[in-house]
């Protein structure tokens, strides 16, 4: 084949261009650390990476939600614990009040203390965390028992406060007043029974204990449920953390550069480019003109 200077020139330039282009591509990968710069780099990989990123974003949201849910449950747990302690004391007093050897003034003193405890329980029922009432369902901006005798009407809301913890699951974290203290027409309503205790103490009648026991049992059951939900949230949170880790490593496999490989490639592309430069400099210099004098 007849070779002309122009052909040599053209193909040298083209090859240098190609080599520089590959060198540029690989150095871009090394400097950004990302394999995928644009969709055409790997159409399937890009769609996978977008999907993983969205899933990760959703997961991070769910993780935040579980944190919120845990906070809510912890607060609920604390308040119920304190309420139960107060109720135990109230029961002790009620049992003591049934002892026949008490004087009227003793009974009055006990009634006084029970009344005090009742008030304390109402305060617990009206607990506010982060500006929200814990036990008033979705009406978090109002106390469930605004007045001392509010227990006589169902003044509270029973709506659910729930947090989404996965794309198909949301967990109800709140306990409403009816589950803890009982509804208005329920004989075992804690406020009702405690009021009964004080009235019977004052009037010298025997103090009713049975309803109180039942009420205490109800609140203990609810407490246990809170614990169970908290445990469930905890395990979901752990699972989310695991799956986050997994997703991140999958994402990294799809879009991150393997540095050892990339740098080796970069070095080889660099030397190829330099070789093409040095070859070109030799080829395009000389022609017969240089030798005819």
């Amino acid at each position: 084949m007849r070779i002309t200077q122009q052909m040599l020139h053209q193909s040298s330039v083209r090859q240098m261009h190609q080599n520089l282009n590959r060198f540029n591509q690989i150095s871009q990968q090394v400097s950004t650390g990302k394999l995928l710069q644009r969709p055409s780099d790997d159409p399937f990989g890009v769609s996978k990476s977008m999907n993983l990123k969205s899933t990760l974003a959703a997961n991070e949201q769910y993780e935040r939600n579980t944190t919120n849910a845990s906070l809510w449950l912890d607060e609920t747990d604390q308040v119920i614990k304190q309420t139960v302690n107060v109720l135990h004391r109230a029961r002790e007093l009620a049992v003591q009040g049934n002892t026949g050897t008490l004087s009227d003034s003793d009974r009055a003193a006990i009634a006084e203390e029970v009344e005090h405890l009742t008030d304390q329980i109402r305060q617990f029922a009206n607990t506010k965390v982060n500006g929200k009432y814990l036990f008033n369902g979705q009406k978090t901006n109002q106390p469930p028992y605004p007045e001392q005798d509010s227990y006589q009407i169902n003044s509270f809301d029973t709506g659910a406060v729930a947090f989404a913890v996965s794309d198909s699951l949301s967990i109800k974290v709140n306990v409403t007043a009816d589950k803890l203290f009982g509804t208005a027409d329920d004989e075992t309503n804690l406020f009702k029974t405690l009021t009964n205790v004080t009235t019977s103490l004052r009037s010298g009648e025997s103090v009713p204990l049975e309803e109180m026991e039942k009420g205490l049992n109800r609140i203990l059951t609810s407490w246990a449920e809170v614990g169970a939900v908290a445990e469930r949230v905890e395990s979901i949170a752990n699972r989310l953390k695991d799956s986050n880790l997994q997703l991140t490593s999958m994402l990294s496999k799809v879009e991150d550069v393997d540095y050892a490989e990339a740098i080796t490639k970069l070095k080889s592309e660099e030397s190829i480019y330099q070789a093409s430069l040095s070859v070109t400099s030799k080829i395009i210099q000389s022609s017969l003109v240089d030798f005819i004098r």
Binding site: M1, R2, I3, T4, Q5, Q6, M7, Q10, S11, R14, L36, R38, P39, S40, D41, D42, P43, F44, V46, S47, S49, M50, N51, K53, S54, A57, A58, E60, Q61, R64, N65, N68, K132, N136, G137, Q138, K139, T140, N141, D157, G159, A160, V161, A162, F163, A164, D167, S170, E255, S287, L288, V289, I292
Partner: protein, 495 residues
Amino acid sequence: MVSTFHSLELGKRGLFAGQTGVTTSGHNIANANTKGYSRQQVNLTTSPSLDVWTSGEANSGQLGSGVSVESITRVRDQFLDRQYREQSGTLGEWSVKQDTLAKLETIINEPSENGLRSAMDQFWGAWEDLANEPDSLPARAVIKESAQAFVDTAKSIDRSMTQLKNDLSSQLTSRVSEANSYLNQIVEINKSIQQTGKQANDLLDQRDLYVEELSKLVSINVEERSNGVLTIKLASDDTTLVEGTTIGTVLESDRQMSGGSILGTMDSIRTVESYQRKLNEMVKGFVFGDITVEIPAGSNLADGTPVSDNQNSQVPVKGINGLHRIGWSLKEDENGNSQAGASLFLGDETNFEIASLEVNPAIKEDSRLIAASLRSESVNGQQKVISGNGDLAQLIGKLRDQGVTIDGDTSNIRQYFQSMVSELGAETRTSNRQMTNYETALLATDNRRQSVTGVSLDEEMANLIKYQHAYNAAARIVTTTDELLDTIINRMAAR
């Protein structure tokens, strides 16, 4: 017996041939880098010989009378030319397509942390944050901003696509007028060639160059007539564009043509339009598409749609706008009643265009119009929102993974966008590969053509020396003849 001066004439012819050779080599060297130039060569022939008497044979002998320049021709292979024209048309087509797709990739801007995907993810996330704190104003402000960011991102993509489309349209016009101007130039050269004859090498080169440029723009068939002029027809439908010295049909940009960058530009406009339409349908589905949502038991909807108190109800709504309108906002009207959620986005549902989409200005002004709750109650004759209910916010947050009617089909927005991006990626990849292939093929053809028509400096230098020596030798013939004449005239006469 021939004339005494015969050798002088012969020497002169040799000198002339040598000089023509040197000049042609010089012309070749000077034009080594001229675009479209094909090397020229001097075709020498012996000039007619003279009959002279010879004793050996009955017939007379033939005495050479030297050399004459028969022609100066360009070295060119018509077959390779045709191949080159075809391939450069295909390359022209694909390089426009590839360029457009690469631009689209830049416009779509994925994968990245500031593209549409991330804007949508942030938008969904903002709603879930509101679901966690349904009465929070800061969470509403975040929703407002992320809705704005989504609209801005979609609009900027849409705008860039429109811009790209307009650029391509004006490119199409200018390419068509470029083609027409080549046709005119070819006609002009045809005229000159008709006058100067078929051996007008430099004019032929020039014309071939124009034909090549034309074939990059549109696929053509070229025929050379016996008088040296060209006939050019459109490859797609045989319309005559140039017939010798007259223009046949003038090209228009709305004409269907095959091959070349004009077709590439037309195809590219269609590609951009199709992606723009997809994006448009996606955003339309997002704002107005049909969705069915599960309303939790015990809700009451702001638009009065009846729902069951005891079990979850399936309620169909029109997109995120329709969903938002069934919720209760924090804003109260003049009578103290809580208002329903306002439309989040304003846009024309029937003739939907991203360009005219915006976040509802009322919401931008007062984020309390953002609804999160699906419950309200009657308090002293006034309908009041239950602000601790975040069911609506949760439903909107879940749209992330829910099917929406987009362009007649039900699909989820995230996946719709992903498949759009990967389709673009695959298409770009194909066009990249096609372009590399055609480029390589064209380069190979060009190399073969260069091998035939290109100027080799080495060769020209060798020729130069060859002709120089021939010239010198011819000069020596003149000198020798001169000496012979000197002998006859001076020496013989002086005696």
